[in-house]
């Protein structure tokens, strides 16, 4: 049975700056092992699961009413939380908790562009879209991707953020050469999927919607596109050097040279040091297609991955094809796929799952979690074999992250 969110606590009369009203502690299942951080358009929620992943509780919202794009726990200390938030009225900021979510402080210098010289116009951060902790050898380092396209870096645990100006200059140069190839989605010009090579903190991948997939090997000073083989059906040139629309790109935790991408135009695999993407989505059933937003890599097996295809035909409904939600799993690097739909609605299930709203845990067998735009969280304890609804009636879900004590 789904677990309902408890009613929010009554607002404190004088909330402290940057804090939500006082919160009651949710009833926690014993032996909490998994925590799912659900960021929604109206606040962030934490789902706590027991060791068996059968019992779940939904905590009261953090920052109720704020558009929360990403809530991430630092895997290095397992307690620091960073939350990207804004409201319809108020500008974007980052909130930090150093105690697992009990107390929050606002970043002293949130991600923001430098002020333009007098008389010139400058960009404005509209939202921080993506947050990720830095390399294990660099405690305190965080990266942020924003709308519009830009990277920011923090060296103090998210308290202050510095614009990675070299990246913005690089992207501006690309746009000057080919204006149509650096564009915006309906949600803006999104910077996302910041991937840190666990072997080298200076080796970072970043994706732009739209713009493509890019790499730096010197911590952000110089960049190059890696988009060979991935298509951009919405441009006159189908295979440009850059201009593609990666929706979600993940690095296999089992092999940092194995990269998987769910693109606006297909599902791809890249094996570094190669630079040519292989469209493994061609091996999905043609009636389903290979359009979608999220993609998930197995935490221990480089050839195992999951996608959640959505309807990319006609006017692009971006809902489950024919109203039949299903995950597709490949256990051979994308050569073949298995449909996984047990537990999902068999009809009239018009799910949309955003690019950051499907993740795995680190258990064995692996658990999978996805959040829908209808505010439902679905979970599988058996690597996608069967699914159950573990939370409903939440606001539109923008992202999911999983914190797991089993993570090594």
């Amino acid at each position: 049975m789904p677990t309902r969110a408890k009613k929010p606590a009554r607002a404190a009369r004088k909330p402290a700056p940057g804090k939500t009203p006082a919160r009651r502690s949710p009833a926690r299942p014993r032996r909490t092992t998994i925590e799912i951080f659900v960021a929604t358009i109206k606040g962030a929620f934490v789902l706590k699961g027991d060791g068996a992943r059968r019992s779940w509780s939904v905590g009261n919202p953090y920052f109720l009413g704020s558009e929360t794009n990403h809530l991430v726990r630092d895997p290095r200390d397992r307690k620091t939380l960073l939350l990207a938030a804004r409201t319809g009225h108020l500008g974007p900021t980052v909130f930090r908790s150093l105690d697992g979510g009990n107390a929050w402080q606002e970043a002293r210098l949130p991600p923001a562009f430098p002020k333009a010289p007098e008389g010139q116009t400058g960009p404005v951060v509209q939202r921080t879209f993506f947050l990720t902790s830095g390399h294990a050898s660099q405690p305190g380092v965080w990266w942020a991707g924003t709308v519009p396209h830009a990277l920011f870096r923090s060296e103090d645990g998210g308290a202050t953020w510095e614009h990675v100006s070299q990246f913005s200059r690089y992207v501006a140069g690309l746009k000057e050469q080919k204006p149509a190839n650096i564009g915006e989605t309906p949600g803006g010009a999104i910077t996302h999927s910041i991937l840190i090579d666990p072997r080298n903190p200076s080796h970072v991948y970043v994706s732009l919607s739209t713009g493509g997939f890019f790499e730096t090997t010197d911590a952000g000073r110089n960049w190059r596109p890696i988009n060979g083989g991935s298509s951009a059906d919405f441009l006159p040139e189908k295979f440009p050097e850059y201009g593609q629309d990666p929706h979600c790109v993940v690095m296999s935790p089992a092999n940092p040279d194995r990269i998987y991408q769910q693109n606006h135009c297909g599902v791809y695999r890249l094996d570094r040091p190669g630079v040519q993407w292989d469209r493994i989505g061609r091996n999905l059933p043609s009636a389903v297609g290979d359009i979608g937003f999220p993609i998930v890599a197995h935490p221990r097996k480089q050839d195992v991955l999951w996608v959640f295809p959505m309807d990319g035909t006609s006017v692009w409904p971006r809902t489950s094809p024919e109203g039949k939600p299903a995950v597709f799993c490949s256990r051979n690097g994308g050569a073949s796929w298995t449909r996984q739909a047990k537990g999902f609605p068999q009809s009239n299930g018009w799910f949309t799952v955003f690019r950051q709203a499907m993740k795995s845990d680190w258990q064995d067998p692996v658990g999978l979690y996805l959040g829908t735009t209808a505010g439902e969280v679905w979970a599988s304890r058996d690597e996608g074999g069967s699914w159950e609804l573990i939370a409903s009636h939440l606001p539109r879900i923008l992202s999911i992250e999983v914190a797991d004590k089993a993570r090594s």
């Binding site: 700056p17 409201t87 319809g88 009225h89 108020l90 900021t93 606002e106 116009t121 404005v124 951060v125």
Partner: protein, 88 residues
């Protein structure tokens, strides 16, 4: 002499729940800087990094809508900072 600044509920988490506060400055820019000293973080939520008032924030000085940070503030002025019409 300072101006009286009234803020809507959106900003109460910064003002400690107060809807009316005092701030000093001869321009709106100075007033906002003083507000940020008193209530750290407030300014960036309503003024972007290019010094523009954010689209769904309305600022009224003596009941007149202003969008320019150079707008003059006189002692005793009534300043309203309101969140307005940002959607569902």
């Amino acid at each position: 002499m300072s101006a009286t600044v009234r803020v809507s509920t959106h900003l109460h988490s910064y003002t400690g729940g107060e809807s009316t506060v005092e701030a000093e400055g001869s321009t709106l820019a100075e007033l906002m800087a003083d507000l940020d000293r008193r209530f750290p973080g407030l300014r960036f939520r309503v003024i972007d990094e290019q010094d523009h008032i954010r689209p769904h924030i309305n600022v009224f000085v003596r009941r007149a809508l202003v969008r320019d940070l150079k707008s003059p503030i006189s002692p005793g002025d009534d300043v309203l900072i309101l969140g307005a019409l940002s959607g569902g």
